[in-house]
């Protein structure tokens, strides 16, 4: 296994450096590139959600690097459950509100927020506090409770999930952000950025009946990738996920992880999570499966990771 891993990462690094030197047409070495280029992953700790978001985005060159004037933006939080924000079952509403505001500030023509919820969608939108935050920031909540809002697309790189019905607003937008919350999860072990993709799909039960982990990894190969995965770890749910039973399941970490790489950000989030609830990364099988499908890398050491404490 180790040898195989070594070969794999060596090959990846090789390919990556090849592309970088080629695209820039320069003779800069890989190391110098890493210093000057944008980070691959930014981790922030110790602030309020809005503050950490601003700080992390600054490392990526600010929101203007992702959202251009007149663009349609979609933000996909986790709003799966009819739960209050304190119970950490849904993404932090302050974070979503702040992101909507930033997008609008960058000139987005429309900022749409939705989730295919598990509980009653209206109650989940309301009680999560997200609807209020989005509307206050000038965004729009869109329903996702009916098949007519979805359109079928091919997922050619998927192993089990070869096609799926995905929410039209996401298919038709110019740019989208994946904003999950870090939680324990009874079925998938943990839910972070890739598991959050189940909320853009209509038929969730297909996932459960065709190897959940493989389907989650397959969904991550969908060609329209989020500009960024912004993992909310301000409050995390350490046990009894994904719904949680009480406030005892919640731990304040006041953290935020941001990366365009699904696999890297989920790996980093699992390492953060394991300090609270030791979990074997291998048990969260979809991370490894996604790496096999070349969605991203688990090898954080090879990436340009920024760690910021406020």
């Amino acid at each position: 296994m180790k040898r195989r891993d070594f070969f794999k990462s060596a090959a990846l690094v090789g390919i990556a450096s090849f592309f970088k030197t080629n695209s820039f047409g320069s003779v800069l070495s890989g190391k110098e590139m890493a210093v000057h280029s944008e980070p691959d992953l930014v981790a922030v700790m110790g602030g309020e959600p809005e503050v950490m978001l601003l700080r992390a985005l600054k490392e990526f060159g600010g929101i203007k690097n992702f959202v251009k004037r007149g663009q349609k933006v979609v933000i996909k939080p986790n709003i799966g459950w009819d739960r209050k924000p304190e119970l950490a079952a849904n993404t932090n509403p302050q974070l979503i509100g702040a992101l909507v505001k930033l997008c609008k500030g960058a000139g987005a023509s429309e900022v749409i927020v939705f989730d295919h919820t598990c509980h009653d969608w209206k109650k989940s939108y309301t009680n999560s506090g997200i609807e209020k935050a989005v509307i206050a920031a000038g965004g729009k909540m869109v329903p996702a409770n009916d098949e007519s809002y979805y359109r079928e697309v091919e997922i050619p790189r998927g192993v089990n999930l070869k096609k799926a019905k995905i929410h039209k607003s996401l298919l038709d937008c110019d740019v989208w952000f994946n904003v999950p919350i870090l939680k324990h999860h009874g079925g998938a072990k943990n839910t972070i950025s890739m598991k959050n993709l189940m909320g853009i799909v209509w038929d969730r039960s297909f996932f459960h009946s065709h190897d959940l982990h493989q389907c989650i990894a397959d969904a991550a190969t969908f060609h329209k990738k989020p500009a960024l995965n912004i993992v909310d770890a301000y409050r995390i749910m350490k046990s009894n996920g994904p719904q949680g039973k009480s406030i005892s399941d919640v731990v304040m970490l006041k953290s935020l992880l941001v990366s365009p790489d699904f696999v890297a950000v989920d790996t980093a989030a699992m390492k953060l999570f394991s300090q609270v609830q030791p979990t074997d990364l291998k048990d969260v099988r979809y991370i490894e499966l996604a790496e096999k499908l070349k969605v991203g890398t688990q090898n954080l050491e090879k990436l340009n990771v920024k760690r910021i404490k406020l």
């Binding site: 981790a43 700790m45 009819d82 739960r83 598990c118 509980h119 009653d120 209206k122 109650k123 009680n127 729009k140 909540m141 869109v142 329903p143 409770n145 009916d146 007519s148 809002y149 999860h185 009874g186 079925g187 998938a188 039960s205 297909f206 459960h208 009946s209 065709h210 190897d211 959940l212 982990h213 350490k238 046990s239 009894n240 994904p242 719904q243 039973k245 009480s246 005892s248 399941d249 731990v251 970490l253 953290s255 790996t267 980093a268 390492k271 953060l272 999570f273 394991s274 300090q275 609270v276 609830q277 048990d283 099988r285 954080l300 990771v305 760690r307």
Partner: protein, 510 residues
């Protein structure tokens, strides 16, 4: 005295519209407090033993006659609207001309007696069928509500195509042919009877109308013809939708008069008046002994007939119970099944208010006696939401006792059963855990199985029977996990909380 009719019309609209809209509202935006308008309905008040309402209704009827039928009863006002609207469909005659008709006493008193006796013997069948409020509830929820939802969905479809999501599609999952058919039958019956014969449904079939008719014979105020100024022109008779004025003999049948006051507006001579019945000499009890023996005879013969019918009904129910594949799951707050079956009139209010539409009118789940009473029926994404106690708090008949939110979260409606041999973890060696993921109390939790896989296990005393697990289980058509209803709802054990994590994390861990 024309103002009396106008007051009646205004009041009836004020009572009718909120009830009608409340039943139709599919957005959940109307305040739930509106259900209080429904607890003043006679049958719900009787069943929930709402003494204050009962006394008020009794006093009202003893003072003014069957004001209830003209103002408070939504089915009554509904018929008035139908008759009023029917004008537009008539070719020649713009207005209906009514004629005096003989009271159908045998029929109406028999229906009342049989309904009463069957109910006292423990079957709600006829109360469900004949309570005018519940009939109205079924007609509105089964016929008008779907139309409103279709309209909404049409608009939503057009607008969402243009990127406007102001209207959203409302899914309609609660279609039950029997409840629909029943509503349709009564809609046609009521429409047919009221089309040209005014309030003949209320004066022949409705047991509430018949009961209030008995009371209104003694009401302090009543419609009566002043023999000195009446010229027997028949103008009032033509206007009387209860067909209870006989202008030739100058008699008014008080038991059928619904105090609509249309006749007062019709008379130009001041020959018909709404006035005080007792003028000092006559006293209350002397009035009625004439037809008593005949009525007693009718009631007793009705009773014999009803008892026979009831005995048979009970036998059918007994048989049905054993055939059913699973026990029905009652809505939260129903308590035990006997209480619930005896008090619910199948008005469908809770069904229309259920945000998940998990409540549906039953077919024979409760036997013939409980036809159209609500039960929980799970399907994908349709289950009883943990953070919701609406149904128990809107019930006007007391069939569902109001539950506080915390109380509801611990009310066990049923218990989940797990069939391991059907579970995908067992059959496919795949991870799933959808049931446990959706379980709000973690009564369904995952335990180690093999090769790092986990499989569900149920802690029964934690289970509240909400059906979240059943609704999401990917095994179809017969789920690997399903809920068996309790015939007595009990308190579930409070789930133990996780161990709190108190250490401070200062590092990222990577």
């Amino acid at each position: 005295m024309k103002f009396l009719k106008n007051i009646r019309v205004v009041l009836s609209v004020l009572f009718f519209l909120p009830i009608f809209i409340f039943f139709i509202d599919f957005t959940g935006k109307l305040p739930l407090q509106l259900h209080k308008l429904l607890s003043i309905q006679l049958i719900p008040a009787l069943l929930s033993v709402n003494l204050m309402v009962l006394v008020v209704l009794l006093v009202l009827s003893l003072f003014f006659g069957r004001i209830y039928c003209s103002v408070i009863c939504p089915l009554g006002v509904f018929q008035d609207i139908l008759t009023w609207k029917s004008r537009f469909f008539r070719k020649k005659k713009k207005k209906i001309r009514y004629e005096y008709s003989v009271p159908k006493n045998i029929l109406r008193y028999s229906i009342l007696a049989i309904t009463l006796i069957v109910f006292l013997c423990g079957s709600s069948f006829l109360v469900i069928l004949l309570d005018p409020y519940s009939t109205f509830g079924r007609i509105t929820s089964q016929l008008f509500r779907p139309l409103a939802i279709w309209g909404n969905n049409g608009i939503a479809y057009v607008l969402s195509g243009m990127g406007n999501y102001t209207f959203y599609k409302v899914e309609q999952v609660s279609f039950v042919p029997l409840a629909f058919g029943l509503a349709l039958c009564f809609f046609f019956l009521v429409t047919q009877m009221s089309w040209s014969k005014g309030r003949s449904y209320c004066n022949t079939i409705c047991p509430v109308g018949t009961t209030l008719g008995l009371l209104s014979k003694f009401s302090l105020f009543h419609i009566s013809i002043d023999e000195s100024s009446c010229i027997s022109c028949g103008a009032c008779e033509k206007q009387c939708k209860s067909q209870c004025i006989e202008s030739a003999t100058m008699k008014v049948d008080d038991s059928r008069c619904v105090s609509c006051f249309n006749c007062l507006s019709a008379c130009k001579k001041g020959g018909i008046k709404y006035k005080f019945r007792y003028k000092g000499k006559e006293t209350l009890p002397v009035q009625q002994p004439v037809s008593n023996s005949r009525r007693t005879f009718l009631i007793t013969s009705g009773a014999v007939f009803a008892s026979v019918a009831l005995a048979n009904t009970n036998r059918i129910i007994g048989k049905k119970d054993t055939i059913l594949s699973r026990k029905p799951i009652m809505p939260p707050g129903a308590g035990n099944i006997d209480h619930f079956n005896a008090h619910c009139t199948g008005c469908q209010l809770c069904v229309t208010k259920c945000p998940q539409q998990v409540l549906k009118p039953s077919v024979l789940q409760y036997g013939l006696s409980g036809i159209t009473q609500p039960h929980l029926s799970f399907s994908t994404h349709v289950f009883c939401t943990f953070e919701c106690n609406i149904c128990s708090n809107v019930c006007p008949t007391g069939a569902l006792q109001p539950l506080g939110m915390e109380e509801k979260k611990l009310t066990q409606l049923g218990i989940a059963n797990f069939r391991k041999d059907k579970c995908v973890v067992f059959t496919n060696d795949d991870d799933c855990g959808a049931c446990s993921e959706h379980c709000p109390t973690q009564a369904v939790h995952m335990i180690p199985y093999k090769n790092g896989l986990t499989i569900p296990e149920i802690t029964e005393d934690l289970c509240i029977g909400c059906g979240a697990c059943e609704s999401i289980c990917p095994v179809r058509p017969y789920q690997a996990i399903y809920v068996e209803g309790n015939s007595k709802q009990v308190k579930a054990r409070k789930p133990s909380e996780a161990k709190k994590f108190n250490k401070k994390i200062n590092d990222f861990g990577f």
